[in-house]
Symmetry: C2
Subunit: 176 residues, 2 copies
């Protein structure tokens, strides 16, 4: 371990575009169009017709769902640069969906091969001993004493209590 | 999250008897008898004949290896009691062996169903924000400022720098 400042970076909606995958599978399987503009301030699944209400959990539980997510624009280059200056950890609350564990591990190995396995954490509660946390879920900031950076995602649109970044270029501006 | 004291409990050689499994597979597959008495102060694989030197990594990488490990004696009852008084996390450095992730998740669900998924952490470096850590590997205590409790395992036999427990009854004596 080094004495560099430690950063915990979330996966879904921060490194990986999970919502884009949901839009795609609902279009393909249910001919249901989920529009980003309608998601602002809401969970995407609140837009689903009632009959499909809980179907998103079935998708998430399925092996493979997390394996082919798109990388968020700019994430690879900025995270690579962060790794030069900081002690970077990828911290994902993956434990609720055990079939996601191997998918997420392989996805990181494919797109972020410079992140060593020692720097990957799959958990529930994010009780990590870091100084900076970049996350789209404010529940992960609960009890965290460090610098919390909220990564914009439609569901957190209305939240004003945290330092915010809208994209990876803004992460670079703040931290590099 | 609660204000209870947080404990991080390791899996291999603390909750799960990994060495027993190695003894079994080497007996079965290689007619090689690994004796606990000869392991004291050593990694078990140092006892392997040269031709089998690195074979233990192949076992560990195989899906299923961690799924049927025996539970360490007394672990279930003591961990259950700890959960009443403490905020208990199971923290396993599983990330080096991605095929172990689902096995370990299922093993915990079978034997420790009272541990919620939010309280499970699979990682590399154990950078967890807890007050007490129970582990058989002193490398996991590096940089940890809390109370480090070394759980006896043959390989750590000679280490004297840490508070030590030899079994789960002794954990109960100290913490309950």
């Amino acid at each position: 371990m080094t004495s560099k400042i430690r950063i915990a970076i979330d996966m879904d909606e921060v490194l990986a575009d999970t919502i884009d995958k949901f839009i795609e599978v609902y279009r393909r399987d249910h001919k249901t169009e989920l529009l980003l503009e309608q998601m602002q301030g809401k969970e995407f699944h609140e837009l689903l017709p009632e009959a499909l209400n809980n179907s998103w959990r079935d998708y998430i539980n399925k092996k493979g769902f997390f394996r082919d997510l798109k990388v968020m624009p700019g994430a690879i280059d900025v995270v690579k640069a962060l790794c030069e200056q900081y002690d970077v950890y990828v911290v994902s609350a993956a434990m609720e969906f055990p079939n996601s564990l191997l998918d997420k591990h392989e996805w990181l190995a494919e797109h972020f091969p410079f992140i060593h396995w020692k720097k990957i954490i799959f958990c529930g509660d994010k009780i990590v001993d870091v100084q900076i946390m970049i996350d789209d879920r404010i529940r992960n900031f609960a009890g965290f004493k460090g610098r919390s950076i909220l990564f914009s995602s439609p569901h957190n649109f209305d939240i004003t209590e945290y330092e915010r970044v809208n994209n990876w270029a803004q992460v670079a501006d703040k931290l590099l």
